[in-house]
Symmetry: C2
Subunit: 341 residues, 2 copies
């Protein structure tokens, strides 16, 4: 894709919205290199509130920023389906419609994840050949790379055919957006041997073997972090448990290191531990700062962590920009056309 | 239980058997306080090999150690069911029969986990009221405690009634062995709200509400580490994914800290980082050093990590000893009798 890129930003969604969302948007715009094609951000929400935040950032007349009015906000705890149905002028729904009408190339929200999913299904729409739209999230791996978990929580009960769709969507994502040649696709399981797995995993194997993806077999929870696979396919229940367990264990390690830094007996020791802690944090916070793409829909929708600060928002906007520019959605459509033929 | 306690030790099982198993057994015996009731270990395997290891440890005439002959060994990669069927004189099977005949109060093995499970089912036998026997494993939690995951991998496809059994078995384990009053029992799920969960979780809720356990609702992968629940109930697939993801993330954090320690610019900084690393390792290696009890069988069987060194073996023997002395199996039988009444 050449020419300017437009991203609809849900200015009202997230634990630290709108202030941190606006700050992150400004940060992202200012970090875009002048040589690259222009990026335009549509800040969607309450114009007065957005203006006040822009003033606080010294960005009232920042080039590339526009405001789009949305009169309603969906809260973080509201019921996804009901809230999207009732609040047709919510910032999440307005963002989704901007993608549907092609007025935006992508949308990004740190708001209610369930509502983002529902809005994407109802307003941007699922690709007709895909039966379930999964969320994809990155897990850090030892060498510095990452494994894409598909599905990380959108569909908790799945059939083998759903997992086959996730494999295709994940493989194309890593190929087009992360630019990995022949991404290694694996099934998340309880053992690496071919015979291991629950009924779902066992019934999915033959489907993945028949797909035009580089299926390499099973991956276990521990080898997720060992640069063994580029894509790990699972139902949204297992994916969510794995993702959150990784978060929990990472936080436990960080907490222990923080305590050690506080109780260090000298300044030089404290700084050494804090330096090591920062190195761990950069990898552990990966999930929080990645921005999770919603796959299988007819457009680009990136879901940021609810706790996103300005840095996380800027990072998620980077994911939105790279995903939109990569031509990922068109590649999925072409692959689905091939599959149907 | 008063009087001497006898533990049958699979001397031949584990990546570092028999040497580390024997070393760990000697270490465990020597750490038992003289005031406590005596402990006797039956080292099961090839007598010549065991004798040689005992000599290397300077423990040929260690009081409390006996050798029981087993002429066969089940390898770590052998098929569980086939190997137990074919090798009736394997160290794993001989250990299980010693528990069955009440010549031992417990057994401990770092060998082929699947074979230990099969031997327990076939030779020690499942309690008739329990339909599936789960493995229970501890996850470290922030305050220094732990959450017991049941099932951690023995039964990958489960029905709600199986999970209800796991809840009862796990709750009694934490009550009798960890001496926690009214252990908090939770369902591992993809969200804490009551409505969250896959079909299995949703159908299990009402069963847990009707049980004589302190059911507190759902626990998520991240809150597993936050001293939120004492027991987390799940099918063996989700439990295994969670456990191994925690191992993987823990190892990633340790690897980063090791790299930092190596590249430290001064000795004092290196030591500070290594000290912090050791603090993280003590929590992360919890799973490896805990020893996992197999629940729902008519006896005590503790499964140690395949990579167990002498310290891990000694730790697993401690779990075996505490479990046998706690009267856990009798408590389960009494609870099942109450349930049937």
């Amino acid at each position: 894709m050449s020419g300017a890129l437009t991203i609809a930003v849900d200015a009202m969604g997230g634990d630290f919205a709108p202030q941190q969302v606006i700050a992150g948007s400004v940060r992202f715009l200012r970090s875009c290199s002048v040589e690259s094609d222009g990026v335009r951000l549509l800040l969607v929400g309450d114009p007065d509130v957005i203006q006040a935040c822009l003033r606080a950032e010294g960005a009232e007349s920042e080039p590339g920023l526009s405001i789009v009015v949305a009169t309603q906000v969906i809260g973080m705890e509201e019921h996804p389906l009901e809230s999207v149905r009732k609040k047709s002028d919510s910032s999440i729904s307005v963002c989704a419609r901007l993608v549907k009408s092609r007025d935006a190339d992508a949308t990004m929200s740190a708001g209610n994840t369930g509502a983002c999913l529902v809005a994407a299904m109802m307003l941007i729409e699922r690709l007709p050949e895909i039966s379930r739209a999964p969320i994809a999230t990155f897990m850090p791996s030892r060498g510095g790379g990452a494994t894409l978990i598909v599905d990380a929580g959108a569909n908790v009960d799945c059939q083998p055919s759903h997992l086959a769709d996730f494999a295709l969507l994940g493989s194309l994502y890593m190929e087009k957006v992360a630019r990995i040649t022949r991404p290694r696709v694996a099934l998340l399981s309880n053992g690496e041997e071919d015979g291991k797995g629950n009924e779902l995993v066992k019934r999915t194997r033959s489907l993945l073997e028949a797909l035009p993806v580089n299926f390499i077999g099973n991956v276990e929870g521990n080898t997720l972090f060992e640069d063994f696979a580029d894509v790990a396919v699972c139902d949204g229940f297992a994916g969510n448990v794995s993702l959150k367990t990784a978060e929990g264990m990472g936080t436990l390690a960080l907490t222990i290191l923080e305590e050690r830094a506080r109780s260090a007996s000298s300044e030089i020791e404290r700084l050494a531990i804090e330096d090591a802690l920062a190195a761990v944090r950069r990898r552990v916070d990966w999930a929080e700062y990645g921005g999770a793409p919603l796959l299988g829909i007819d457009g680009v929708s990136i879901i940021a962590h609810g706790r996103s600060d300005a840095r996380a928002i800027a990072s998620a906007l980077g994911v939105a920009s790279r995903t939109a520019r990569s031509g990922y959605v068109d590649a999925v459509k072409a692959a689905l056309k091939d599959r149907a033929a």
